[in-house]
């Protein structure tokens, strides 16, 4: 892969360009796309621009600019594409939620709470950029973070706090707001995994008994990790949260592979996933239902109404879509949350959906690129983990809605209606911005103290080449 990585080699030094003006231009383009969706919805439905067009534009552009300024001020070397991608997806998502709000009579105002959550998420991203500034100290809190993640995951099981929705007990409700703590847990756990693996990667990779041609880690190195994973999976399985279990498992296997550089982990992970999936499919009724809905949805119209309606929406939208406001996404239950990709496909067409998938891909690849550029293992592993987590979640949810995979009930990052996902995704953006800033920032060249610098020298020695 192209890309200057090594710095301070014998005779070349790479200095990344900041590209902040490019970022600003792209932020504006990305925001125009979301605002255009908002305007087109009203133009198509009422024939006029929305009455709040001006104020909405000012708020939305203002939020984008605030983020940009924070980056310019405290993380000037951060990757210039991450923010525009996130803002594009978030803007289109908000416009679509507003569009779906307009279907019932009188219209709903769910987009307002979504905008508040978005603002909160952005604020946390700014806090990450401005206050945290460096992600590396997080490495010191391996077990604390892990415990925090576990507690978060178990919150929905607390009586009186957790609520069961759509067959999965993954929500907590405080006052009027419901929150999916597993969303936050996946973020916290990724950091915990990364820091643990950095600590133990050599021990995991090298020491240990050989079995079937594979070198296995010593139990005492693997045990803490195994316990972490086992606990996390148990909690998720008891909550019937299929999507989140798959996400955790995939993340764990990939991070283990990256840190140990042993492909055997991928094979082992793949095999145990297949085994677990088979077991789950034959043991749990709700898993069978999901698999039936995936393979033969049309055999049970009433039960699989949602996924069938999503497919009808795609066919109705066709290649170019019905246009903003002109489709009927409201026919699909949960069009604002789990099935927002169906609403987008119906109104923007398969072309529009594919464009959005490309933006997701771009975001994930910028994250992976940051991982490649990183100089220390923790940054590498953390950036890889966050990027892959993001990509896998997009794959599982959009794949579920388009019937590539069984429906797993995850949120669509930056788009689905829901606060927890929005806030956590913005925190991921913040953290990736910080990592990429730290990674791409020119390192102050270590000035080797040579005898030539010594003012007390008696005999002048030839001056060393000065590096920029």
């Amino acid at each position: 892969m192209a890309g200057p990585v090594m710095i301070n080699t014998a005779d070349s030094v790479v200095v990344y360009r900041r590209r902040r003006n490019v970022e600003l231009a792209m932020i504006l383009v990305a925001q125009v796309i979301g605002l255009a969706g908002y305007a087109l919805t009203h133009l198509n439905l009422d024939g006029t621009l929305p009455p709040e067009m001006l104020s909405v534009t000012m708020v939305w552009v203002g939020l984008g600019l605030a983020l940009h300024i924070a980056v310019r001020w405290r993380a000037p070397y951060a990757d210039p594409l991450l923010l525009p991608c996130a803002l594009l997806l978030n803007g289109v998502g908000l416009a679509m939620i507003h569009r779906i709000d307009l279907i019932p009579d009188p219209p709903r105002h769910d987009v307002l709470t979504q905008l508040i959550w978005t603002g909160l998420g952005m604020a946390l991203a700014v806090v990450t950029i401005v206050v945290v500034r460096d992600h590396r100290p997080l490495q010191a809190y391996t077990y604390t973070l892990f415990l925090l993640g576990l507690v978060l995951m178990m919150l929905p099981l607390v009586p009186g706090l957790g609520v069961e929705l759509n067959g999965a007990r993954v929500w907590i409700r405080i006052w009027r707001f419901s929150f999916q703590p597993a969303e936050a847990a996946k973020f916290v756990m990724t950091i915990a995994f990364a820091s643990y693996l950095v600590d133990k990667r050599d021990a995991l990779a090298v020491a240990g008994p050989r079995f079937l041609g594979l070198t296995f880690p010593r139990p005492r190195d693997l045990a803490p990790l195994g316990v972490m994973l086992a606990l996390a999976m148990t909690v998720l399985v008891t909550q019937k949260d299929l999507g989140m279990s798959m996400l955790f498992f995939g993340l764990f296997v990939v991070m283990l592979y990256v840190s140990t550089e042993r492909p055997a982990w991928l094979v082992l992970g793949g095999l145990s996933f297949a085994g677990a999936a088979f077991l789950a499919a034959s043991l749990f009724h709700h898993v069978q239902v999901r698999i039936d809905a995936w393979l033969h949805p049309f055999q049970n119209y009433d039960q699989n109404l949602q996924i069938i309606s999503a497919q009808f929406g795609y066919a109705w939208g066709g290649l170019l879509g019905r246009g903003w406001g002109l489709g009927r996404p409201g026919l699909t239950p949960l069009a604002k949350s789990d099935f927002i990709a169906a609403a987008l496909g119906e109104e923007l067409g398969i072309t529009g959906l594919m464009a959005l998938i490309m933006v997701y891909a771009l975001f994930a690849f910028r994250g992976l690129r940051t991982a490649l550029a990183a100089r220390d293992d923790f940054s590498t592993l953390l950036a890889t983990g966050l990027s892959f987590l993001f990509a896998l979640q997009v794959f599982l949810i959009i794949g579920g809605v388009t019937r590539l995979t069984p429906m797993t009930g995850l949120t669509t990052p930056f788009m689905s209606h829901g606060g927890s996902s929005m806030v956590v995704n913005w925190m991921i953006v913040g953290l990736l911005l910080v990592i990429s800033h730290q990674v791409r920032r020119p390192v102050a060249a270590p000035t080797e103290l040579t005898l030539a610098d010594d003012s007390t020298q008696l005999i002048a020695v030839p001056t060393a080449e000065v590096r920029p």
Partner: protein
């Protein structure tokens, strides 16, 4: 750690490529089947609320789409100006109970979505004009339709009239009927309730008695037996054993005559005039079931007029001689309907040549160009021209001096055959009359069926109840 990261990047790319490929295949391979799925509400709503072309008969409008007030859920609403009268042909166009009749058979043309309208649709899309459906022009003659309905009155039954030389259906009435407007309304709830009421009505008004059901045709089937007899070498003057009571072969069942046929022999011609059961049972037994079945099939027994949900008529598959005898007089397991009985008369009147019945003459696009026009087509040669002309003479005799005297019309050559079919002992018999009429080189055929004829159980049912209805229709047409 860069090597594993690059591999993970490739894996990630594979995930996204899989998403993109899968999204494309939905449009490429699944779009059509998903859009034609009857459970697809998006397509159904658009079709239901969209503009549909009219269904007309001459200058009479049978079905039309009217624009609804601004802000309604659906842009257009279907209405049927003389709904009850034309319901057997137009059918209804409902939101969630499907559609029937021409509304169903010509749905794509009416909605403007058929392939034949593709270019116009493209032009409409480019010019920003809202697409218009095509008009379906039927072959119905409003005068005959009205006359038939009026003559039938409140009786349960049906009438079919057709042009014997082309096969064009001129009248198709079924009674009791229903108003398709009540089922096609945009108030989906009340339309659903109306449908439920009609469905539970013991008189089954939704049934198309003219072509969509089959009933025992009784003595009118003797025309088919007579045709088979002529085709197998008999003459109108051939004497046939006509005992007062015929013991059916292999049984102890005695078949009586319903009319005064004596107890000896009758010519085939006279036996038809008097509608002698024993004579035709004997002819049928002699010819055998295969000859009868073949003759029935030549008269279009297997034909189905799909445009109005028509069904085929029926002749038993493996009758024994006794059953063949009963079949020869239109009892046992023989079943037909007014359309098929009109086809029998039409083929006889048209010198043996049976024309394919049709109800749609022309499908015309909004710019008045004809998208398709039905050309008369021969369905089969039911019998030789000579035999057909002999049978015409026999049918004329039925009307002039036989059981069908009620159908006589001054100045018109009318030939017919009555029928009274027993169903069960506790139900009144079915009264039938099928006829052809000829005047000024125009030949038409009519069949009348009255389900609950309020007459004594005798052969006169057809003449008293059904023949006058046929007469009114003939007078309206000629």
């Amino acid at each position: 750690m860069n090597k594993p990261i690059r591999r993970i990047a490739v894996l990630t790319m594979a995930l996204f490529v899989a998403l993109l490929l899968n999204a494309s295949q939905i449009v490429v391979f699944q779009q059509d089947s998903l859009n034609t799925n009857p459970q697809n509400r998006r397509v159904r709503d658009e079709q239901f609320g969209g503009h549909r072309g009219s269904i007309v008969a001459g200058k009479t409008t049978l079905a039309v789409s009217d624009a609804t007030p601004q802000g309604s859920q659906f842009a257009y609403q279907r209405s049927y100006p003389q709904g009850d009268l034309y319901a057997p042909v137009t059918g209804y166009f409902s939101y969630d109970r499907g559609s029937t009749g021409l509304e169903s058979a010509y749905s794509a043309e009416l909605a403007g979505t058929s392939n034949s309208l593709f270019v116009r649709r493209l032009v409409d899309t480019v010019t920003g004009r809202s697409p218009q459906g095509a008009t379906v022009e039927t072959t119905l003659d409003p005068k005959a339709q009205q006359a038939a309905a009026q003559a039938l009155g409140h009786q349960q039954g049906a009438v079919v009239a057709m042009d014997a030389e082309t096969g064009a259906v001129l009248a198709m009435v079924s009674s009791p009927s229903y108003d398709p407007t009540t089922l096609s309304g945009t108030d989906i709830k009340s339309a659903g309730e109306a449908y439920g009421t009609l469905l539970q009505d013991p008189d089954s008004p939704l049934t198309n008695r003219a072509a969509g059901e089959i009933y025992p045709p009784g003595s009118t089937f003797k025309l088919v037996t007579a045709a088979a007899a002529l085709e197998n070498g008999m003459q109108p003057s051939t004497l046939v054993d006509t005992p007062a009571k015929l013991t059916l072969p292999g049984t102890k069942t005695q078949l009586p005559n319903e009319t005064q046929c004596g107890d000896g022999q009758q010519t085939l011609d006279r036996a038809l005039q008097l509608s002698c059961n024993t004579a035709f049972a004997n002819v049928a037994i002699k010819l055998g079931d295969n000859a009868l079945r073949q003759q029935a099939e030549k008269f279009g027994w297997n034909f189905q007029l799909g445009d109005v949900g028509g069904v085929a008529a029926r002749f038993p598959a493996n009758p024994d001689p006794a059953q063949t005898g009963l079949s020869g007089i239109g009892q046992y397991d023989v079943a037909s309907n007014p359309l098929h009985m009109a086809m029998v008369s039409a083929a006889i009147a048209n010198d043996g040549k049976l024309m394919t019945p049709y109800v749609v003459q022309t499908v015309r696009a909004a710019d008045l160009t004809a998208l398709s026009t039905t050309k008369p087509k021969e369905l089969s040669q039911a019998m030789s021209a000579a035999n057909a002309q002999q049978l015409q003479g026999m049918m004329v005799n039925v009307v002039n001096s036989g059981t069908g005297t009620s159908a006589q019309i001054n100045g018109v050559r009318v030939g017919g055959k009555t029928g009274t079919a027993q169903t069960t002992a506790d139900k009144p018999p079915y009264a039938w009359f099928t006829a052809f009429a000829e005047k000024n080189n125009r030949k038409i055929a009519v069949a009348v069926f009255v389900e609950s004829a309020n007459v004594p159980r005798s052969e006169v049912g057809g003449n008293v109840v059904a023949a006058p209805i046929a007469k009114s229709v003939i007078q309206a047409l000629l």
